[in-house]
């Protein structure tokens, strides 16, 4: 960033001499684009925190955002951008909180006085603010990515319920894309439920899976084999005409695994098998 100690000191002084006027003007600059989605008091507090952190970092010595003397300032910026990201503000609405300082400086500092020193300092502080803004932007992006990853994980949990359909029959309705991560969750859930309920039959319903490619098929086949190892039989249901034709063209073989067009067919099939076993036992 390249501010000399003298520059840092002068800028800190510049920011500090009219602190109240500056933060008020800064708050105004930030408040306008946010259009009342944050209270003025809250904005004022954030701006004051930021102002204090910047001045302290400048006073601490030669100014650089990566410097350990700027740790407090970084923490303040991170907190700010994470908060904005969580509250659903856009990247520019977040960055404007930092860039508002530029506007405020021009309002407060007498630029027309033509003092070369002041102008040079303003340019230098402009650089500093740009760097702060970039840092805020990056942190914001990271926070958003984190949010998306969290949501993807939650979705993973949400989208794979195993339901008990009948005594001895559980079903797992698959919806959406069956990638490796979800396939793993599906398999684990199904096997756990088989143990918990002691069910001999499991129905894997793929009505909600838009396309069955070789990867999806392979995941399903593995799940069926794993269930078999535990003594349970799987029935695959929800095979619509277009899926059936695609599976044939692809050359996927489901072997001796029972497949049905609808969940109702699959349940009927399972109940028939249960009935047959019961009769065979009583004879």
């Amino acid at each position: 960033m390249g501010l000399t100690a003298a520059e840092g000191e002068r800028i800190a002084a510049l920011l500090d001499t009219q602190a109240d006027k500056l933060t008020a003007s800064w708050t105004d600059a930030v408040a306008a684009p946010l259009r009342g989605r944050l209270t003025r008091a809250e904005l004022q507090r954030q701006v004051q925190d930021l102002h204090r952190a910047i001045v302290e970092a400048l006073r601490a010595g030669a100014f650089d955002l990566t410097d350990e003397r700027s740790a407090d300032l970084r923490a303040t910026l991170v907190e700010l951008s994470r908060g904005r990201a969580r509250q659903g503000f856009t990247a520019s609405e977040t960055a404007v909180t930092v860039f508002g300082l530029k506007q405020a400086l021009f309002d407060v500092v007498d630029v027309r006085g033509g003092d070369a020193q002041v102008l040079a300092d303003l340019l230098a502080v402009g650089q500093v603010i740009d760097d702060l803004g970039l840092f805020t932007f990056e942190t914001y992006a990271k926070a958003r990515e984190g949010l998306i990853a969290d949501q993807a994980e939650q979705l993973l949990e949400l989208a794979t319920p195993v339901v008990k359909l009948w005594e001895g029959v559980v079903a797992i309705p698959l919806v959406g894309t069956l990638d490796s991560a979800r396939a793993q969750v599906v398999m684990e859930r199904l096997l756990e439920t088989l143990v918990e309920t002691g069910s001999p039959y499991a129905i894997i319903d793929i009505t909600g899976v838009p396309a069955v490619d070789t990867q999806v098929a392979q995941h399903i086949l593995k799940t069926v084999v794993a269930a078999r190892l535990m003594g349970a039989e799987c029935i695959i249901s929800g095979i619509r005409p277009q899926i059936a034709q695609t599976i044939v063209a692809l050359g996927i073989e489901f072997g001796d695994i029972a497949t049905k067009a609808t969940l109702a067919d699959a349940l009927r099939h399972a109940l028939r098998l249960i009935e047959a076993t019961r009769k065979a036992r009583s004879n």
Binding site: S180, P210, A211, D213, P241, Q242, Q245, T246, L250
Partner: protein
């Protein structure tokens, strides 16, 4: 997702991660619906695209897919080009054999995709990357 299917305007998807395979699938489905492919043909094309996009990612080390609506004069179709700069395929006949895989899959992706589309063209050699062009025509 864009639903604009202007004739001859290719839509590009970069394939660099698992999510991109899903994006290719969604784009192909949108375009296939807009080009009025039947439900069976939509599903076949989407599945073929899914296989080839995953091959581009897994074996080609990433690349891109280019989806274009084409017109033969009599009917509309969709052309997808999958290209990567990966190691290429040394023995194409072997790679197109059902059940042959080097990656632990079912070994049906490439050969199956060929059966799912109307036209299938593959341009590859060891060390030169792979370029696969598939076309599905509306009936």
């Amino acid at each position: 997702m864009t639903t604009d299917v202007g004739l001859g305007e290719p839509q590009l998807v970069t394939i660099a991660a698992d999510e991109d395979v899903v994006r290719v699938r969604q784009l192909v489905r949108t375009v296939a619906v807009a080009a009025k492919l039947s439900l069976v043909d939509q599903t076949k094309l989407v599945t073929a695209a899914s296989e080839l996009a995953r091959n581009t990612l897994v074996y080609g080390g990433g690349g891109g897919a280019e989806v274009t609506v084409v017109d033969s004069g009599r009917r509309k179709g969709i052309r997808i080009v999958f290209a990567d700069d990966g190691p290429g395929i040394a023995d194409l006949d072997l790679a197109l054999t059902d059940g042959y895989t080097t990656g632990g899959g079912l070994g049906l992706g490439l050969s199956g995709a060929r059966r799912l589309v109307d036209e299938f063209d593959i341009d590859t050699a060891a060390g030169r990357g792979t370029r696969i062009t598939v076309t599905k025509w509306a009936r």
